[in-house]
């Protein structure tokens, strides 16, 4: 168990990666500070959070109802709605549509869902060019990598690395200048915007009562992706629906302040279907792809369901002591950090992501900053329980941990055994001596000793000392 944890194997490399450590420290530290200052400006933050949580949990409790409402409204505005049970189905729809319309290239704005369903690599396989237009995503795409943070996909890369990449891939003049990097990406991406005939975006909120698709961003690339190409495909996880427009103000405030510490992002696009005859811009065709991909099975358990309330602000990643030290890639999954630790095993399976729920000290900092009050530690505990139960049920291999815990429970239920066991450990400790080399024999001890000295244990227990003091 200890040695087989994959995350652990990635940790050594992550900790040794000086650039990554530097970026994590500076970027996350700043994000946390900005979030805290921004949240402190809102006196009723806690109340708004609770309200948003209630709205989300209510919506999740009758998700079918609100999704159908959203579908009807989108259709009434001339849009088309596609229900995709799996990521594969969503990808297939986009591939088929592109082929039908003879589209060889599309532009994409940032969408974690598209990462989750591996849209880019599937499109590449279908020989359809997909261009990421968010700068961070574009960098990651050019480098052939995956995002390492919900909001800052290229967090792991230095400015110099990005400059080198642009020189190599885009023929940029060699200079580490940020302005040069942004000017180059603007020049290159502008051309793509003008020549792509399809734009694919994610969705931050889908408002059921009006059929409005809301996209929040700072770079303007999503706005361009939905207004220049003639077809807009919006990919939306089914949990992103909210019932009413009036709640949008609350959600935008919570999302944006938690994510970047801004009062408002540069762009918030509220889209209602394709261009109407009297309108000057907007796509001629609009498709909303509602993606399940494992979400509906999360609805079944009432305490786990809150996982789907996430609005993807990234605040939990920024504050997480584990994420702060190892970054996103060590998780080997699309969603990383605390939210990734609870979302990944539920979207896939505990067997596919057995370590995520265990790679946490359960410190609870994530829950404290979550704008929709997701009880992440509680969900982690539930998932740990499920993981252990599943292992027990499958019983394919001997679990030393289960054996130890079983014995431990026996000992703890019997004061006599407990006293004897305690005495035995203190005796062993004495034999081992201070940091005795024989400690290597026991896996947990050598694991402890890798970075820490062994504790100094007392020779006599409290109960012995208490008894002699009473006498």
């Amino acid at each position: 168990m200890i040695r087989s944890m994959r995350i652990n194997r990635n940790v050594e490399a992550a900790l040794a990666n000086q650039q990554l450590q530097k970026n994590l420290r500076s970027t996350l530290g700043k994000s946390v500070r900005m979030r805290n200052e921004s949240v402190a400006e809102v006196p009723n933050w806690d109340e708004l959070s609770q309200y948003a949580r209630d709205v989300k949990l209510h919506t999740l409790s009758r998700l079918d109802h609100y999704l159908e409402m959203l579908e009807q409204k989108v259709k009434a505005q001339g849009g088309k709605v596609i229900w995709a049970e799996t990521g594969q189905e969503a990808v297939q729809f986009i591939v088929d549509l592109a082929r039908q319309r003879k589209i060889g290239k599309l532009v994409k704005s940032k969408s974690m869902l598209s990462e989750e369903i591996h849209l880019n690599s599937m499109l590449e396989r279908a020989q359809i060019e997909s261009i990421e237009t968010d700068l961070g995503e574009y960098v990651v795409q050019l480098a052939g990598e995956t995002p390492s943070h919900l909001l800052a996909p290229a967090l792991h890369k230095s400015r110099e690395e990005i400059a080198d990449l642009f020189v190599r891939e885009l023929g940029m003049m060699p200079s580490g200048d940020v302005d040069e990097i942004t000017a180059t990406s603007r020049r290159v991406l502008r051309e793509h915007f003008l020549t792509a005939r399809m734009g694919v975006t994610g969705v931050n909120f889908g408002v059921a009562e009006t059929g409005t698709i809301v996209i929040v961003e700072n770079e303007g690339n999503a706005r361009l992706s939905v207004s220049v190409p003639r077809i807009h495909v919006a990919l939306m996880g089914i949990e992103k629906v909210i019932p009413r427009t009036r709640d949008l103000a609350v959600f935008l405030k919570l999302l944006i302040r938690s994510a970047t510490g801004q009062k408002m992002t540069s762009y918030v696009s509220c889209l209602n279907g394709p261009r109407r005859s009297e309108e000057l811009d907007g796509p001629e065709e609009f498709y909303l792809v509602l993606v399940d991909n494992g979400r509906s099975k999360i609805l079944a358990d009432r305490s786990l369901r809150q996982t789907l309330a996430c609005i993807r602000c990234g605040a939990c990643q920024n504050i997480c002591p584990v994420y702060q030290r190892i970054g996103g890639h060590a998780y080997e999954s699309t969603y990383q950090g605390p939210i990734g630790a609870i979302l990944t095993p539920q979207l896939t399976s505990l067997a596919a992501a057995p370590e995520h729920a265990f790679a946490s000290s359960l410190c609870g900092a994530c829950q404290e900053v979550c704008p929709v009050k997701i009880e992440i530690p509680l969900v982690l505990l539930k998932l740990r329980e499920q993981a252990q139960n599943e292992k027990k049920r499958r019983a394919t291999h001997f679990s030393p941990e289960r054996l130890v815990m079983g014995l431990w429970a026996q000992v703890m239920c019997s004061p006599a055994l407990y006293v004897g066991f305690g005495r035995w450990i203190r005796w062993v400790w004495k034999i081992l001596g201070e940091n005795g080399s024989r400690g290597q024999l026991l896996a947990p001890l050598s694991s402890w000793k890798k970075h820490r000295d062994l504790p100094r244990l007392a020779a006599r227990s409290f109960r012995e000392l208490y008894r002699s003091s009473e006498e």
């Binding site: 000290s361 900092a365 000992v411 239920c413 004061p415 407990y418």
Partner: protein
């Protein structure tokens, strides 16, 4: 020696649950808690049947095993007036999680809830229940305080330990940067993911060092065990001390 600022009109009864780690490995913390409580005029009993609260199994996903141990715990403390625990994480286990181990509406659940309501973390009990500001302790040293995660975030206990530290005569209390950030211990996490655990702890140790303190105080021996191991490995001459030990720095 300064006078104890708390005088009880009625005799209060307390069952001291010292926790398994304190009982077996760090008894001085239990003895200190006992000494402080007695000084306050509280009637303290120690039930020798006590073992553990069930937390290690609970946090690792072994809920059945945890439930067995929790039942043993409830069996001992079912009739106690007050249960006082010198640990933030064990107090959290009892107060926040113990009832959830039993089916809603069941008799066991009800008993667990009763026990959890009568359980107090030591600093909370001394400060909020007894209204204590000063134990008469004297400790002329520079100290800093580490907020353990469950204590501060689950139980919301932040000011109580600080008030008690400030009440100690001669103490020079200096807050460290990020005092409520996790130390990286995390129970079995500390041995399952030792590299991450220690990397998180390294930052904590750095902040402790930067505070200029000679002693780092906390309310959990588990955090202190981890922090002490890191400090010693790095040969940083800061000592660890449980809050109970600090408060017991007076002559009997």
């Amino acid at each position: 020696m300064s006078a104890v600022s708390c005088q009880l009109s009625v005799v209060m009864k307390v069952s001291l649950f010292v926790t398994c780690l304190v009982d077996q490995f760090f008894p001085q913390v239990g003895l200190s808690a006992l000494k402080v409580l007695k000084k306050c005029g509280v009637e303290v009993d120690f039930d020798p049947r006590q073992t553990c609260c069930g937390q290690p199994a609970f946090n690792s996903g072994f809920v059945e095993e945890s439930r067995e141990v929790a039942e043993h715990f409830i069996g001992i403390y079912g009739d106690s007036e007050n249960i006082v625990v010198p640990s933030g994480s064990c107090a959290t286990m009892i107060k926040s999680f113990l009832p959830s181990l039993f089916a809603e509406g069941s008799l066991k659940r009800q008993r667990a809830e009763e026990v959890s309501q009568r359980t107090f973390e030591l600093s909370d009990f001394l400060s909020s229940v007894l209204g204590l500001t000063n134990t008469g302790a004297r400790f002329p040293q520079v100290v800093t305080y580490h907020d353990s995660c469950h204590l501060v975030r689950e139980l919301g206990i932040r000011s109580q330990p600080r008030q008690l530290i400030r009440g100690v005569e001669g103490v020079d209390f200096r807050e460290m940067e990020n005092c409520d950030r996790c130390c990286g211990f995390g129970g079995t996490f500390s041995v399952k993911s030792p590299d991450i655990s220690a990397a998180i702890g390294d930052e904590k140790v750095q902040w402790i060092k930067e505070s200029g303190a000679d002693y780092v105080i906390a309310n959990d021996v588990s955090c202190l065990m981890h922090i002490e191991g890191l400090l010693r490995r790095k040969q940083i001459p800061v000592k660890t001390m449980h809050l109970a030990e600090l408060l017991a720095q007076f002559d009997d």
